[in-house]
């Protein structure tokens, strides 16, 4: 951001150059304006009944299938993000669409194509919201299925109406750059901490449904963990003391989210990557995928009951 705009009168400041979209770049924004915006986001979260709601599958079969299907979906979304050069926040936004859709509509067991089609529609919609350059629908390659553009468009419409056109969802990425300098006194010159926090958020999102925790809580917990993985309840409260009262954040939730993030990291570090990164329908693979529920879910401890 232009240094001269830093002390600007409050107004809606937006940037349109591409450099601002690099997530590893730390931006400092006009303080009061940004604070107000962050506060309004947190207020929005607390009024929303999107978070912490219970998923509706109650038989084990469906739950297991959906759990695996979601993990495959996340892997497809993340690798397609890389191929198409989207930002991380776009992939995460896509995942929030996916999770919200799944919480409102039922997908029958084994309807693998429906999950894939849903992923494509969600990623395309997220790109339309977040990216400056949006590829045409033919660039989204599903494994084993070839969806025509008109089919994807129909699915886009279905997602839009199911989510009641509320496409500007809050994600942890809305907060990251705001929280980091408030928690870490030293400047993150090379963007190391931001990258680390982003990694944590992405790993977390593979295991945990995006509707389970408030995005602000995930953002602050991942920033805390990126800065220090040895925080106790007390030291953490000390670190976020000012912040949490300013934004009325719930310390309890931040603490449990911090521990959950840490647990996921520990598990990840102890798991051979060949298993943990298994993806069944990666976009680059050409083998038609067969779902095998029994073996295909390496990450067992999923906090949300899918």
């Amino acid at each position: 951001m232009d240094p001269d705009t830093r002390f600007s009168l409050p107004s809606l400041l937006c940037e349109e150059d591409e450099s601002s979209l690099q997530e590893t770049k730390l931006v400092s924004s006009p303080k009061s304006e940004d604070d107000l915006y962050i506060r309004s986001l947190i207020e929005t979260e607390s009024k929303s009944n999107d978070y912490g709601c219970v998923c509706v599958c109650d038989d084990d079969n469906s739950r297991n299938w959906l759990k695996c299907a979601r993990l495959d979906a996340v892997n497809w979304i993340f690798s397609t993000r890389e191929i198409l050069g989207f930002q991380f926040r776009t992939a995460y936004l896509c995942l929030t669409y996916f999770d919200r859709f799944i919480s409102r509509r039922f997908i029958d067991n084994g309807k693998d194509w429906a999950i894939q089609l849903l992923c494509i529609a969600c990623l395309s919609l997220a790109a339309k919201m977040e990216e400056l350059m949006v590829p045409s629908l033919s660039h989204y390659k599903a494994q084993g299925y070839n969806f025509e553009s008109s089919v994807i468009q129909r699915m886009e419409l279905m997602v839009l109406t199911t989510l009641e056109w509320k496409m500007s969802c809050i994600t942890p990425f809305s907060y990251l750059h705001h929280f980091l300098p408030k928690i870490n006194d030293e400047r993150d010159y090379d963007g190391f901490l931001v990258s680390k926090a982003i990694d944590l958020i992405l790993d977390f999102s593979k295991d945990v449904n995006s509707m389970d925790h408030r995005p602000s809580v995930v953002a602050i917990a991942s920033v805390l963990l990126a800065c220090d993985d040895q925080l106790t309840r007390n030291t953490m409260e000390f670190k976020i003391g000012v912040l949490s009262s300013f934004y009325s954040l719930e310390k309890e939730h931040i603490h449990s989210c911090y521990n959950l993030l840490k647990e996921i990291q520990t598990k990840k570090n102890n798991t051979p990557c060949s298993i943990s990164l298994t993806t069944h329908w990666s976009p680059s693979s050409t083998v038609k995928r067969k779902l095998r529920f029994e073996q295909s879910c390496p990450l067992q401890k999923i906090s949300r009951r899918l």
Binding site: D2, D4, T5, S8, L9, P10, S11, L12, L13, C14, E15, E16, D17, L21, L36, Y37, S40, E43, T44, E45, K47, S48, N49, D50, V56, D58, S62, R104, R105, F106, D108, K111, W113, A114, L117, A121, S124, L125, K128, M129, E130, L132, V134, S136, L137, F147, S149, V151, I152, Q153, R154, E156, L157, L160, T161, E164, W165, K166, M167, S168
Partner: protein, 470 residues
């Protein structure tokens, strides 16, 4: 995949030809086409069940084959779904035509817009708009804009044709801000206006944008309001620059020239960030070399520098966006506290004896059908001398398309929400036979409906603060 809702599907493979229209369309009587723009066509329709209600239906042009749902449509619907204010156009329904996947937005219809009102005064009655009307329009425009800015939304395309005024009825004379095709939420990525593939008039564009500023703020909307204010006073666009259509980044020197001629040359002393604006740096010769004998804004708008109206206008046309007055501040300005006080019905002054101007109704082209095809019905003109259609070609002074939103007198929130649900029932993405949901237990349905009902009524989760501290 299956539905959780239990209402019956709409638009299930019915034909869209005029003889056999989809269900949603059958609730309307189509009167004709009233506008055309980059994003599609606008039609005037009546609701069959209540012929007194007029609705403007905006049909989005099909996006390019293979691009899916247009990002502009998504943004506009998303924003309009979440905002609700007296001075912002009211979206009453979203319809999806499932055959060709086209999108239709239904709005309350507004008979007038500032473009037509100004034109009528300039070309027909040859008389200035009365003080009360100017002040009431400006106040309501600022009131709507303050609401948008408080909710972190920038409009970015304010111009007279996007400012609507309600005709006869309960909301007569109420101003409505319309056309959110370019509006943005704070933090959303910004495409440069010039490569949005959109015709945006440059007459109302703020100098920081014209000089290539990449970090712009809600102050760009206030500049546009200033230009519109001046136009209401003088009946002429304040800065009528010649647009350069070159791509990819046209430098609008003529527009800047027009501004500098009236407001004088901007200086780094008065506007410190000026030095960082791309065109200011690269086009030194053109811009900075020029000397302007500024005649002064007051002589252009025929106002005394001591007049509060002039004071407010000059604060809206402040070069430095950081010093430019905000909508919230403008609403508190002395101008609005002196007689005549602004009122809700901008068209009819409260004082008896004041002359009431009868503005012409919008011309309707009854030749064009919803699909944009021309039918064989004879043309009817509601009024005016427009002969067939309302494209820019019949209005030589307008260099921008017709406004895309019209507003009527109606409130039908309940109905509209029902229709959103309805719309979500009928899509079968792959045209693959789908099973109805096995797991849609009654309590879930109930939960879902409750959720929807809540969503529909109060739009939870949207920042509702009335005004942000500026």
């Amino acid at each position: 995949m299956s539905n959780r809702g239990n209402s019956s599907g709409s638009g299930s493979n019915s034909n869209i030809s005029s003889s056999n229209r989809p269900e949603w369309l059958q609730q309307y009587d189509l009167i004709g086409k009233i506008g055309e723009g980059t994003y599609g066509l606008v039609f005037l329709a009546k609701i069959k069940s209540n012929r007194s209600k007029s609705i403007a239906i905006k049909k989005f042009k099909q996006s390019k084959d293979g691009d899916g749902v247009s990002p502009t449509a998504i943004r506009e619907i998303m924003l309009l779904r979440e905002i609700s204010h007296d001075n912002v156009v009211k979206l009453v329904n979203v319809h999806i035509n499932h055959i060709d996947m086209s999108l239709y937005l239904a709005f309350d219809y507004a008979e007038h817009d500032l473009y037509e009102i100004i034109r009528h005064h300039r070309d027909k009655v040859n008389q200035a708009i009365n003080q009360y009307t100017v002040k009431s329009i400006l106040w309501q425009l600022l009131n709507g804009l303050n609401y948008l800015h408080s909710n972190w939304i920038m409009h970015r395309d304010l111009k007279p044709s996007n400012i609507l005024v309600m005709g006869d009825g309960e909301e007569q004379g109420v101003v409505k801000i319309a056309d959110f095709g370019l509006a943005r939420i704070y933090q959303a990525p910004l495409k440069p206006l010039f490569d949005n593939g959109v015709v945006v008039t440059i007459w109302y564009r703020a100098p920081e944008l014209l000089l290539g500023g990449k970090h712009y703020t809600s102050a760009v909307d206030m500049w546009a309001v200033g230009c519109i204010f001046a136009e209401l006073l003088t009946l002429k666009p304040l800065f009528q620059g010649q647009e350069v259509k070159a791509t990819p980044n046209p430098f609008q020197l003529d527009q800047l020239d027009k501004i500098f001629k009236v407001l004088g040359h901007p200086t780094v002393e008065k506007w410190p960030t000026l030095a960082h604006l791309p065109h200011w740096q690269t086009d030194q010769q053109h811009i900075q070399g020029h000397k302007y004998d500024s005649p002064g804004l007051y002589s252009v708008v025929h106002l005394s520098p001591k007049n509060p109206a002039y004071d407010l206008l000059s604060k809206m046309l402040e070069y430095d966006p950081r010093k430019r007055i905000t909508a919230a501040q403008a609403l508190e300005h002395e101008y609005f506290r002196m007689e005549p006080l602004p009122g809700r019905n901008a068209l009819v002054p409260p004082q008896p004896g004041e002359k009431i101007v009868n503005y012409p109704t919008r011309p309707v082209d009854t030749n064009t059908d919803f699909e944009g095809t021309t039918s064989l019905q004879p043309a009817q003109q509601a009024s005016g001398n427009v002969s067939g259609g309302m494209g820019p070609h019949v209005m030589p002074t307008r260099n921008v398309p017709r406004p895309m939103h019209m507003v009527g007198m109606q409130r039908m929130q309940q109905q509209s929400m029902a229709a959103y649900n309805l719309a979500s029932q009928a899509i079968n993405p792959a045209n693959i036979p789908m099973q109805r949901g096995v797991a849609a237990q009654p309590h879930q349905q109930q939960q879902q409906q409750q959720l929807r009902r809540k969503d529909g009524m109060g739009m939870p989760g949207y920042p509702q603060q009335k005004s942000r501290r500026f």
